[in-house]
């Protein structure tokens, strides 16, 4: 059996909801051991929908289940001194710590990097926070909507006359987790073991939004002095169409920057006379000044085709046109089935469901898609007693005091 890329690496996750857990999920899928530390009442993600039949249950949250598959789970009240002591024992034994707690929690318990490196000089510690651990906003509080707004991404999504929208389904938190995983791997590769010196990685979620900007908005502004405005179903100042339009049974997306692609589309429509109208001479002009008129012309044709038909036309003619798929369409998709993107995972309380797997295949050291999410406190005995040497009686006492 092929060795796993991160075999032997021990990761402790101390955080909640999305960003820290997604980061450690990625590391775990490449073979690292992940110990997830939850408060005794559980990660808030356990209370987040979806639930089977929409009945909330702390062992059955679909979000929690796929985000924490394959991890070991312990409970610990890190607000109490006995909890802090146990936490430090865990960290002393680990290679990596991933956390996304507010700054005052870290400082209040002396659990910031300056203190933790004293107990484990080789520790790689990743801190994910809304604005980073330094700077004028370091103590600021933020939910996803605030990060999107301050990060500048919301401004470009929505209709000009209505409120800007943040990106759907907590993308910001996932981006932070994803960048976090890359940053930890940079550390691991730079031979931290050899030098006896760890590192602190300080990631601000607001800053992660830059990855989405630089393609367009920053360049628009710096080089052409233009601020990208939101425009609903289209993207301004791009060659027409860069748009979502209705078709017979839903919507379709079209992005045809190259002229030969546009010509091919016109050919599919039977080369209508309007194809030569001067308003299409410069398709960026078309987008900025004649888009509504152009939309009406295209929709008259698109209305005759279903999503499936348009998809086949796109494949046959090699043009960048794609139906706007719903979740149902996505899951019925042949492409996914043929690439075996989903894995079935059994869980003693939640049941068996299909989870999204890894978006890549590796010829060696394949991604581990086994393992389910831990039950609350499932590995307390394994970690605190077997690993760290505490007795069963100690564990009972800790439980009584609400530490675990």
């Amino acid at each position: 059996m092929s060795q796993q890329a991160l075999e032997g690496i021990k990761v402790v996750e101390w955080g909640s909801f999305l960003s820290a857990p997604f980061c450690t999920l990625l590391l775990g899928r490449h073979g690292a051991e992940v110990v997830k530390v939850e408060p005794p009442e559980g990660d808030i993600a356990r209370r987040h929908p979806p639930f089977p039949d929409n009945v909330p249950h702390i062992e059955k949250s679909g979000l929690f289940l796929w985000l924490n598959a394959g991890k070991l789970g312990v409970t610990l009240d890190v607000k109490k001194p006995a909890g802090v002591k146990l936490f430090k024992e865990l960290v002393a034994d680990a290679d990596v710590l991933v956390e996304n707690n507010p700054l005052n929690v870290l400082k209040g318990k002396s659990l910031d990097y300056e203190n933790l490196r004293k107990i484990n000089p080789k520790l790689i510690m990743l801190s994910i926070s809304p604005y980073g651990r330094t700077g004028p906003y370091k103590e600021y509080n933020a939910y996803h909507i605030n990060c999107c707004s301050l990060g500048g991404i919301s401004y470009s999504v929505g209709l000009p006359e209505r409120e800007p929208i943040s990106v759907p389904y907590y993308q910001g938190h996932f981006q932070a987790g994803l960048i976090g995983a890359t940053s930890i791997l940079f550390s691991l590769l730079s031979g931290q073991g050899d030098n006896d010196e760890g590192t602190h990685i300080d990631l601000g979620e607001v800053e992660c939004w830059s990855t989405f900007h630089v393609g367009i908005a920053v360049l628009d502004f710096l080089l052409e002095q233009r601020i990208k405005r939101r425009a609903g179903h289209r993207s301004l100042h791009r060659p027409y169409p860069n748009t979502i339009l209705p078709c017979k049974d839903g919507f379709v997306s079209l992005d045809l920057p190259q002229n030969r692609q546009w010509e091919r589309l016109l050919k599919i429509f039977g080369n209508p006379s309007w194809g030569h109208d001067p308003m299409f001479n410069d398709r960026i002009e078309t987008m900025d000044n004649y888009a509504d008129k152009a939309d009406a012309l295209l929709v008259a044709f698109l209305r005759n085709f279903t999503k499936k038909e348009l998809f086949n036309i796109a494949l046959e003619n090699h043009i960048p046109v794609a139906p706007v798929m719903s979740t149902e369409d996505v899951l019925d998709n042949l492409q996914f089935a043929s690439r075996k993107f989903f894995t079935k995972v059994e869980h003693p309380q939640a049941g068996t469901w299909q989870y999204p797997g890894a978006p890549y295949k590796m010829s060696e050291t394949p991604v581990n898609v086994e393992g389910r999410a831990p039950l609350l406190g499932e590995h307390n005995k394994h970690i605190f007693c077997e690993r760290l040497g505490h007795s069963g009686d100690e564990l009972i006492a800790l439980h009584k005091e609400g530490i675990i």
Partner: protein, 410 residues
């Protein structure tokens, strides 16, 4: 010492996702050789010319290309010519990683399948990341961000709760790029321990769907087809974006507990909301969200978004002003954190770049080289790294296998 010092990467990718992944690795010390040709230079060399001016060498002035290709060396090679392919394979032998976002068709037509490359260098890591992966019915479909997002189910989730799907933000490329760096680095560690090369087949389409896990689980569990949520949260209220005083200015608020709700009401001078039974607890506030939003908007409309943000944050409330790009580039916080790099771009001047985002206390990133001109490092790579003679290089130049000017302008 830099994190990826000593690693050599061939970057045979175009536009955004691939170049961005390679740039991140370059920022942290890898020697990245961007592979283009005079027949097919990266077309982003012609996008975003400063002030729209062509200048003497427009192909070296593309702002989009500059942002994504700093810290890289540049090599041109016509891979359709057998002499070009020979040089390429020599380079493969001396490299650690090969990244491509061309489809399998292109790679196979140029004789660059993994099999050939692996034979040349069994310990090379090859990452192929076309839009829809290297297998399956969609594998050769041309893929731009919007197309991937539409097929991936993402566009269907972008929009107001009462509306139709929007184009939204382009996230497919950066999401794929970051998955690419994660898996590449994992593979490099594997290779360090085993000496073995790896072929990685990454689908940008699947990268997007992995992060839509919640919507997928809801469908699996409840057959629920996810819909756009606009800016609303499933259970927190108030939560949303509210119009402020100046034109198109807004503030995003999230008031997540009873304590914070009380603080908020007192801060905005509307104690009477605390006594209003429609807003007595979170569930009721969510139920009566429409009316609550209207009242809050009545307050925010009279104030400056940034001032509001600071006063709310002082009280510990989650508030963020909606920033435009100009705001982001001027942001005091980001500037203090050294978020931007000012880069001297060839034949263009100094421009602000977004830095490497990741801040590490040891092995930080740094700016070693500006974005390269087309074929700028042909000599260095061919002679110093591959040991070709001046005559051999001159011959390649004569046959236009290498060069520094594009065959045609876009």
């Amino acid at each position: 010492m830099q994190a990826l010092q000593g690693i050599r990467i061939i970057d045979f990718s175009l536009v955004w996702a691939g170049p961005f992944a390679a740039r991140l690795l370059a920022d942290f010390g890898a020697e990245v050789i961007k592979l283009e040709s005079v027949q097919h230079p990266d077309r982003q060399r012609f996008a975003y010319l400063p002030k729209g001016e062509l200048g003497k060498n427009p192909h070296n002035r593309g702002g989009y290309f500059h942002q994504y290709n700093r810290n890289k060396l540049d090599l041109t090679l016509n891979l359709s010519a057998s002499s070009g392919r020979d040089v390429f394979l020599k380079l493969v032998e001396k490299s650690d990683v090969f990244i491509s976002n061309h489809g399998t068709r292109v790679l196979e037509n140029t004789g660059l399948s993994y099999k050939t490359i692996h034979q040349q260098n069994p310990s090379l890591i090859m990452l192929s990341m076309p839009g829809f992966g290297n297998t399956g019915p969609c594998m050769n479909l041309p893929a731009y961000g919007l197309i991937i997002q539409a097929r991936g189910g993402y566009s269907a989730l972008t929009g107001y709760a009462d509306g139709t799907p929007f184009v939204g933000a382009y996230i497919a490329d950066p999401v794929s790029a970051l998955h690419a760096t994660t898996v590449l680095l994992a593979a490099l560690r594997y290779r360090r321990h085993t000496g073995k090369g790896v072929f990685i087949d990454l689908s940008q389409h699947e990268c997007l769907d992995r992060i839509l896990g919640t919507a997928i689980m809801d469908y699996n569990m409840n057959r629920k087809i996810a819909a756009p949520q606009g800016d609303k949260h499933s259970y927190i209220a108030p939560y949303g974006v509210y119009r402020c005083r100046d034109e198109d200015s807004w503030i995003a608020l999230s008031i997540d507990s009873e304590d914070n709700w009380e603080k908020f009401c007192r801060l905005v001078g509307h104690d009477e909301w605390l006594a209003d039974e429609r807003f007595a607890n979170m569930a009721l506030r969510k139920q009566n969200e429409g009316e609550l939003d209207r009242l809050i908007a009545g307050f925010t409309a009279k104030h400056d978004s940034h001032e509001l943000m600071h006063s709310f944050q002082k009280a510990g409330l989650a508030a963020g002003a909606v920033s435009t790009v100009r705001d982001v580039l001027d942001d005091a916080h980001l500037k203090e954190r050294g978020f931007f790099w000012d880069v001297d771009c060839p034949e263009s001047g100094t421009y602000r770049h977004i830095g490497p985002i990741i801040r590490m206390s040891r092995t930080p990133a740094n700016l070693r080289m500006p974005p390269p001109k087309l074929g700028e490092h042909n000599d260095y790579i061919l002679k110093e790294i591959l040991g070709l003679s001046s005559e051999q290089v001159a011959e390649l130049e004569k046959e236009k296998v290498i060069g520094q000017t594009p065959e045609y302008a876009q």
